[in-house]
């Protein structure tokens, strides 16, 4: 692992966050949420800082980070694409949509395209089952997506 340099300004922001939680180790998950929203992901260097701020072991922080699927240690693409694989979406063909995304973007789930534009992930139910199958690009929800519609969605962000 090569060391990456974390932005001083963001680090300062993170330390403020920890302080706002009284540097209480019980708030680790809240702190990780905030950290991920500041940095976009949770690189090892960042976890070391958090461990120090909350006075817990780095192993503990890493243990928590790897337990929860919401936390990620790899930077997401500029437009993170998430395909819902909840039951409602599954029975309405979400797998085929996922397959099409893999084909179009030429990446696997959990990967980011070489140009850093897109990353692909799966999630379980955003609760928009009425629109199944559902795809999220960033915060935007696309409902009733068919494999044919995949190219159009990607194209929307490719310009």
């Amino acid at each position: 692992m090569a060391k990456i340099k974390l932005s001083e300004r963001k680090l300062q922001e993170l330390k403020e966050v920890c302080k706002s939680f009284n540097n209480d180790k019980g708030e680790l998950i809240n702190v990780l949420h905030k950290a991920q929203s500041i940095f976009g992901y949770l690189p090892a260097e960042l976890q070391e800082v958090i461990a120090k701020e909350l006075n817990v072991s780095v192993a503990h922080v890493y243990g928590v980070v790897t337990f929860y699927s919401f936390f990620t240690m790899t930077p997401k693409g500029q437009h993170p694409i998430s395909i819902c694989l909840g039951t409602a979406c599954y029975v309405r063909g979400a797998e085929k949509v996922l397959e099409e995304f893999r084909r179009v973007l030429k990446i696997q789930v959990g990967e980011t395209t070489a140009d850093g534009k897109f990353s692909l992930s799966c999630l379980r139910c955003v609760g928009a089952c009425g629109l199944a199958p559902v795809v999220l690009v960033g915060e935007k929800v696309y409902g009733r997506v068919s494999p044919d519609g995949v190219k159009d969605i990607v194209a929307e962000y490719n310009n």
């Binding site: 692992m1 090569a2 060391k3 072991s57 192993a59 503990h60 922080v61 890493y62 790897t66 337990f67």
Partner: protein, 590 residues
Amino acid sequence: MEMVKLTIDGKPVEVENDTTILKAAKTIGIDIPTLCYFQLKDMNIENRPGGCRICVVEVVGRRNLAPACSTNVAKDMVVNTHSIRVLNARRTVLELILSDHPAECLTCAKSGYCELQTMAQQLGVRELPFQGAQSTYRKDTSPAIIRDVDKCIMCRRCEMMCNDVQTVGALSAVNRGFMAVVAPAFEMNLEKSPCTYCGQCVSVCPTGALTEVDHSRNVINSLADPTKTVVVQTAPAVRAALGEEFGLAPGTLVTGKMVAALRRLGFNYVFDTDFAADLTIMEEGSELLDRLTRYLKGDQSVKLPILTSCCPGWVNFFEHNFPDLMDVPSTAKSPQQMFGPIAKEYFGKKLGIERKNMIVVSIMPCLAKKYECQRDEFKVNGDPDVNFSLSTRELAHLIKLANIDFNSLPDEDFDNPLGASTGAAAIFANTGGVIEAACRTAYELYTGKKLEKVEFDELRGLESIRHATLDFNGLPINIGIAHGLGNARKLLEDVRAGKSQFHAIEIMACPGGCIGGGGQPFHHGDSEIIKQRAAAIYREDAGKPIRKSHENPFIIELYKEFLGKPLGEKSHHLLHTHYFDKSAGTFVDE
């Protein structure tokens, strides 16, 4: 406490109501098998995650099976520990565990000592019905410990030891589900973690997931090299436990047989770390007295309490966690590391053996010693003062390898001069022993009086943190003792906060002291074994003609002939060390 009556396997039993089914069953001779469950009674150590599900039993009226290790008894409970349903479930669960475990028993370092292997045998597993993916991970070899966590069964004992008992925080459960495993942060190497190499994780691991780095092959090679003079030193705790490896009762002292075996293995000189322990007392005891006298005279620059520094796990711990207190511990090297330069610079020179032609091997109850002897500050032009450190277990293995029938060996004596020792050195193996040895000497040197009774009973025992006030001729000396790093942390935090009342503190990283070290024969959670070893050590002390370090004639001779005086220039150079701030340690390469 209220008593409840229940029935287990048709037998009535009456126990206190907060008893687990497992313990209740034990009282009437029913041994429910367990795997993740682990307990060191009297030391407040218990691992009860209820995770392996091997100990499940049927409780009449309950929907599902109950884990005996973590289900309390209840009034009129009817328990069946070996119904068809239980046996099927228990075997299936074990088959599942085995289906995600490499079937490498023949070549596994833990073969013969593995609790999973024993369980498979006990439950009569004869085939592996479940095939499928196995969870595999990167192997990791650190200076002392090998992690092969493909063999991890998630019993969580190591995690409990590393965090709850030792508060080291090198290990944590990581990932989730099938890929869940215990690992350092980022699944990086232990070497990059705050691991102290105390080895307690290894000593409780039921399988071959955590084992020590084996140096016995290096030792065999050295012994076979005619150009080398191979010198061995044996730590005090080894003689009280080595016999266990050869079927002898725990607490059997095998000092003489051990010496005989080492000689048969081909070591040129069989010396004793006990000698170096006596030397440690001279240096550390003098340092204590020096600091104490200056402190009493009002010298503001003096730091008290003084902390013992014999234990390398403990040294690693404070380098990682208390770098701000680095001037508090004694600067005296550990006995292993005092022995090295004395062997090479004094004994070797005396015999005209060139440094590069002398190999010093240590036999230790400890895994941190493997790391300690590789530290750069203990090398001269790259040549370590102590070349290899073997654990008690590795020595047993070496003896077996050399076809030596250990139990029929005659008792033999250590070689001189570095084999002579006192009772004070022997008790270094037990928690409280180092400080007791130091006090025997410090008292006599400080007061100028002879001790009427050399045993300081108030310093003995297995309580996690102990303290005692000794009367040094009207001067009350407050002594603190902690074994287990979690307990040490508590004392250190008091020191950091300026609240510590102690003049001197002894710390040993392992529960029970070196007798419970990470390199000792596996006790499998039987704390009685540790108690027997401790008793044996005190017997060794009591049987010695000389019981105070400063009376060891060879030590006196050493100072006269070579070192000069304790804390002198030569001592400073050869027998004292300094510490490093490792708190900034990072997993990420620069």
